[in-house]
């Protein structure tokens, strides 16, 4: 007991999370990618837009580790900068979907009368293929980074709503919620303090998955030309631009592709790790 309380909660959390070594690797990769994106202006070897026609389509070398593109821009630099846009869009999508999905899910789960209305809308949206709906929305709204965030948020909010609603349905029937009601706590405080705090862990897990989906979907949209305008470097726009040279300069698609794979994979692994750790039934099995 005293040993339990002596250890800080943060240390305990990390110890449990990293019991699986793969999760530790995923977090390290993710940290590297995030740090590179944040520190881009200070650590990139070249300017992301600096064209040098004499250096075009150079294969990877000591001066340009990932080679150069069709305008002679350094691919490594553009990947580092591309991470800013890709991850930035991912973070924005996560924040929007978490906010909207949590509010809708709590309302649907707590107020039974609104449940049917909200959930049928959610079902209708989930019956449409993600990427198709996103393309449609961007086509209607117009291609810009903001609209990509909006479109992907609309596409992924139903997932969060479902998870939050089902967790809310469980927690709202627990005795402590009734006890809180018996002690005169208002509906608003019950929903925020008593239910939301108790459904936080599935929301957290869902957030990491949505982050991964959003990074992938942004790349897909940009590749299809229905995403971020090509002048902003993102991993998706880089692959889209590089594909016509792919037979001569495979590094133009390979390295941005690897960036997407590493980012999405490490997010998924982190999500798996969090889910396993936060689910008491699975935790015992580990």
């Amino acid at each position: 007991m005293s040993a339990m309380t002596a250890r800080s909660p943060v240390r305990l959390f990390l110890q449990r999370l990293f019991r699986r070594k793969l999760v530790l690797v995923a977090v390290i990769i993710l940290l590297v990618i995030v740090l590179l994106a944040i520190l881009a202006p200070w650590i990139s070897p070249y300017s992301p837009t600096g064209m040098r026609v004499s250096q075009r389509l150079r294969p990877p070398s000591l001066t340009n580790w990932f080679g150069t593109d069709e305008f002679g821009r350094d691919v490594l630099t553009r990947i580092i900068y591309g991470g800013r846009a890709s991850l930035g869009i991912g973070v924005a999508v996560v924040m929007c979907t978490m906010l909207a999905g949590t509010v809708l899910g709590l309302i649907a789960g707590y107020f039974r009368a609104l449940d049917a209305v909200i959930m049928r809308l959610v079902d209708a949206m989930m019956s449409l293929p993600d990427i198709l709906l996103a393309i449609f929305l961007v086509a209607v709204l117009g291609a810009s980074a903001g609209n990509v965030v909006l479109a992907l948020s609309i596409v992924y909010t139903p997932r969060v709503t479902r998870v939050v609603r089902s967790s809310t349905l469980v927690v709202r029937e627990l005795p402590f919620v009734e006890a809180a009601r018996a002690l005169g706590v208002s509906t608003w405080r019950i929903m925020t303090m008593h239910i939301l705090l108790n459904v936080a862990s599935p929301i957290l897990v869902q957030a990491t998955f949505i982050f991964a989906y959003a990074v992938l979907a942004e790349a897909g949209l940009s590749f299809l030309g229905a995403g971020v305008p090509p002048d902003i470097p993102t991993w998706g726009t880089m692959i889209a631009a590089g594909q016509q040279y792919a037979d001569r300069a495979v590094w133009l698609v390979l390295f941005p592709g690897l960036a997407i794979v590493f980012a999405a994979l490490s997010l998924q692994l982190l999500g798996d790790g969090l889910r396993d750790m936060l689910d008491p039934k699975l935790r015992k099995a580990l």
Binding site: M1, M4, T5, L174, P175, F176, E178, A179, A180, R181, A182, L183, G184, V185, S186, R189, M193, H194, L197, N198, A200
Partner: protein, 338 residues
């Protein structure tokens, strides 16, 4: 003159309470015609088997019947407020009842293991409760929470206030629940089987604690239980329920030594202390044959199918509550023969 008549009214006076649940198979009436009184500073025990309507009655008092299915369909539940005003909990609006809950009326539950929020420290939960009903700054509320924890005899209260419920034992958690309930100094405490989930030694401590708090704060207690041993220990008056009806009301001595209803008598006989010895010297604990009839299907006396003394009249018509003595009421045609 007016003053005294107000003073003499009980803290909680329930008359003819009927609760209806709407189900797919039609309306169900789990509680009908319940009369119940709780005096200030006294303990009324509400006794009955599972399914007798004890908990539904308490939820009706608290305005916590599951909406929209359950509602109070008849009767009044008059509660005398701290100000002296009398409010009918059965017909008052949600807002009025909610302002009373946790403030003037508090409730503790059977399951201390799950009645606390697992992601908040116990101190935070009490402080939240305090701030809800009293205008206190966060730090003052926290100090009050620590005081409440020491009031319920939790050692090292200042440190334990920072504990999460999972770091505490069942008895400790029930103490925290009581601290929560007591934090706004309620006039009426409804305790729904608060000791059922606890060890016998802890049970006694919790009962002592409730008794001490009742005396110190001259608070009325409605103690819901199926455990007659507990009733003997703490109750002043006892109300026995069977299949949604009150079958007998009396002071605690009459219930144990002068019970008039065959169900009460049978219940008292079921106590292990009353067990007889058979020819081999083994102790045999009495039991009541059969089980509680569903509240939906009864005509006549609800207890008749299990009653040793039932006659034809018992099957035909349902008896009213009859006066059997001072403060002693019983729902049985043949009470005088007991």
């Amino acid at each position: 003159m007016m003053e005294t008549s107000v003073q003499e009214r009980p803290l909680l006076d329930i008359r003819g309470l009927e609760v209806t649940f709407r189900t797919e198979g039609g309306d169900v009436v789990p509680v009908r015609g319940v009369d119940l009184r709780v005096e200030a500073g006294k303990t009324t025990a509400l006794v009955g088997e599972s399914g007798s309507g004890k908990s539904v009655t308490s939820l009706a008092i608290m305005g916590l019947l599951p909406r929209p299915y359950g509602r109070v369909s008849k009767g009044v539940a008059e509660f005398r407020r701290r100000s002296g005003a009398v409010v009918d909990l059965a017909s008052a609006g949600q807002g009025v009842v909610r302002a009373l809950r946790g403030n003037e009326i508090a409730m503790i539950f059977q399951e201390p293991m799950t009645s606390l929020n697992p992601v908040m420290t116990v101190g935070e939960q009490i402080a939240e409760q305090v701030r809800l009903h009293m205008a206190l700054a966060p730090q003052a509320a926290m100090r009050h929470a620590v005081e409440m924890l020491s009031l319920v005899e939790i050692p090292d209260a200042a440190r334990r206030a920072g504990d999460y419920p999972h770091q505490m034992s069942g008895g400790m958690r029930q103490r925290v629940m009581i601290a929560l309930a007591m934090s706004c100094n309620p006039r009426l405490l409804i305790a729904d089987e608060p000791t059922t989930a606890l060890d016998v030694t802890i049970q006694a401590q919790i009962l002592d604690l409730i008794e001490r708090l009742r005396k110190e704060h001259s608070m009325g207690v409605l103690f819901i239980t199926h455990n007659l041993a507990v009733v003997a220990e703490i109750a002043d008056t006892v109300t026995v329920m069977y299949a949604g009806e009150v079958v007998e009301k009396a002071n605690v001595r009459d219930i144990f030594h002068n019970s008039r209803h065959p169900y009460t008598a049978a219940l008292v006989d079921c106590l292990p202390e009353r067990a007889r010895r058979d020819s081999n010297g083994r102790r045999i604990v009495a039991a009541i044959p059969g089980s509680v009839t569903s509240a939906a299907e009864a005509t006549g006396c609800r207890f008749a199918p299990r009653c040793q003394r039932a006659v034809e009249a018992c099957e035909a018509g349902s008896p009213e509550l009859l006066v059997a003595g001072t403060g002693h009421e019983v729902r049985c045609f043949r009470w005088s023969e007991a």
